[in-house]
Amino acid sequence: MPWYFYLALKQLFPSGRRFPFFTAISVLGVALGVGLLVVVTSVMGGFGYEIRRMIVETEGEVQIKSRALIADADRLVEQIERVPGVDAATPYASGVVMIVHEGRPAYPAMRGLDLTTVGRVVNLSHYIRLGSMDDLDDDSVVLSSELAQSLGVTVGGRIEVYSPLMIEKLRSDEIFLAREVRVVGILEIGHQQLDSSMLYCTVRLAQDLYGLGSSVHGINVRAKSGVGEDELAARLNASGLPRGVQAFSWMDSFEEFLWVLNLEKGMIFFLLLFIVIVAAFSVMSSLLISVVRKTREIGLLGALGARARGVAACFCVQGVLIGFFGTAAGLILGFVALALRNDIVLTIARFTQREEALRRFYQFSNLPAHTAPGDIILIIGLTLVISLFAGLIPAWRAARLKPVEAFRNE
């Protein structure tokens, strides 16, 4: 071990001292910054990740949309499934409907699913809280949880469904009857927006309600694992889809939303990085104090034949070591806080009696967290670089110190 590394370690952790107080304070400052960065980027990342999971699990990685209706859905599905990287595809029809239960109306988004293929693309059964997806037929629907709750309907209940087509018919003085359907399932995805107002039915019912004949609005595509969604969308677009039909990755479909989310994450990362920078300043000032305090010892090192750059290295290494231990402690701190995040949030919410507001605000029933390895690497790298810089100025000061001048400071 080079002497400057040895001495740096000894100055941070002096022999015979059980608890290195000054070092601990410096390390703690860095650790707090790193811990906070880990927690916040993970939670921010968690929102994005949860949203991705929900979208992908309910709509597949890639959506095929058409400017007009897609008339020959079966053939197109077949064609799409031949494209490499496509695991499965399922057509859907969608639109807004009005539903009424015991005089209470609601206007959910309707999604018509092709029961024979939908299971291979999206896993809605996973989110069923009551009833069963298997019971769905052309005379029944599955409702999202909050919608069912606000209507006061549950599995086995009956609702009336009205579609815009019926209003058209009404205009031309045709008689129309509302479609009466059974509720066979309640679905809860865990995202407030998605749970508030969704109605799932068979594609045939949707086609009926909207007068689509055998056409559909689009096709959801599941990618084989390991195939990137952007890549697959590009591949599909290059595979000769019919005119007016285009493939979008889920990210394209939610581009603006994701852009805002990423911007927010970047801003918060940048702001929190200042905690690390402030901590680095305190490391720098304590190292500078130590250089001044150790003037004579630094002079002595020169008298023992140490070179100026060795002396500089000694202080640089101290900065980096504090950064290193601070990063390690901060990662531990951050991951522990993440593991306990729901308890922490609940405790705070209970304390401030905001449990309900909190749930609504965050739109998730649990505080999501997803730690991207890239973020962690960035945090570690930046912290180490910043603490290296924190060591550089004291190091430069120490290296400039001439032994003769040091000895004269008696």
């Binding site: 002497w3 040895y6 001495l7 000894k10 100055q11 002096p14 022999s15 015979g16 004579r296 010892e297 002079g299 002595l300 090192l301 020169g302 008298a303 023992l304 034949g305 140490a306 070179r307 060795g310 001439k402 032994p403 003769v404 000895f407 008696e410």
Partner: protein, 225 residues
């Protein structure tokens, strides 16, 4: 191979400092030679320039004029940096032990800086600690040692790399008389045993008298006696 005839040779060393608009000439042409194993005392009143001279001899400071040779080789402060670790040991009035290190690790420090610590180095450190009468205090921190003990650790450290020359700048200045006497005995004894040349700066005539040659720094020059 025979020993070089001179361990240290300084000729015509000049050094002056600016003080406001006045030049204070501290050294006005100092000549000094020290042979192998020779011990030399330098006396002089406070402010005479003794420390200034030692710093020049150690290559820690630049002379305005003059020439310095170690073992017959001309050195400048920049070339001295690489040689100092092996060529000389220094002892100071205020000990200058590194407070975070135990006595043993302080003694080992010159070897760490100059090379690597191996079993032989550790053995030598133990030997030196026992030579200065501190074999059971190796694990103590400087704050756990008395002034005399600290100076003895500093002495062991100065001898760690078996330098041909030892420079001591008022090594007893911070010690009481009896402790100072014993440190000087030890210093002279160890240097004699290992044929280490010694330049001892001291106020104490009795200490000076124990060396082979006594010089006095006065008015910027060295005088005999």
């Amino acid at each position: 191979m025979s020993e070089p005839s001179l361990v240290l040779q300084a000729t015509g060393l000049h050094k002056s400092y600016r003080s406001g608009d006045r030049q204070i000439e501290v050294l006005a042409g100092v000549d000094l030679t020290v042979g192998p194993g020779e011990s030399v005392a330098i006396r002089g009143e406070s402010g005479a320039g003794k420390s200034t001279l030692l710093n020049l001899l150690a290559g820690l400071d630049t002379a305005d004029a003059g020439r310095l040779e170690w073992n017959g080789v001309g050195v400048t402060p920049s070339s001295a940096t690489g040689l100092r670790n092996r060529f000389l040991g220094m002892v100071f009035q205020s000990f200058y032990l590194i407070p975070e290190l135990t006595a043993r690790d302080n003694v080992l420090m010159p070897r760490r800086i100059g090379g690597r610590i191996d079993a032989a180095a550790r053995q030598r450190a133990e030997q030196l600690l026992s030579n200065v009468g501190l074999s059971d205090r190796g694990h103590h921190l400087p704050t756990q040692l008395s002034g005399g003990e600290r100076q003895r650790v500093a002495l062991a450290r100065a001898l760690m790399n078996q330098p041909p020359l030892l420079l001591a700048d008022e090594p007893t200045g911070n010690l009481d008389e009896r402790t100072g006497d014993s440190v000087i005995e030890l210093l002279l004894g160890l240097c004699a045993d290992t044929r280490t040349s010694l330049i001892l700066v001291t106020h104490n005539p009795a200490h000076a008298a124990k060396t082979q040659r006594v010089l006095t720094l006065h008015a910027g020059k060295l005088h005999h006696g």
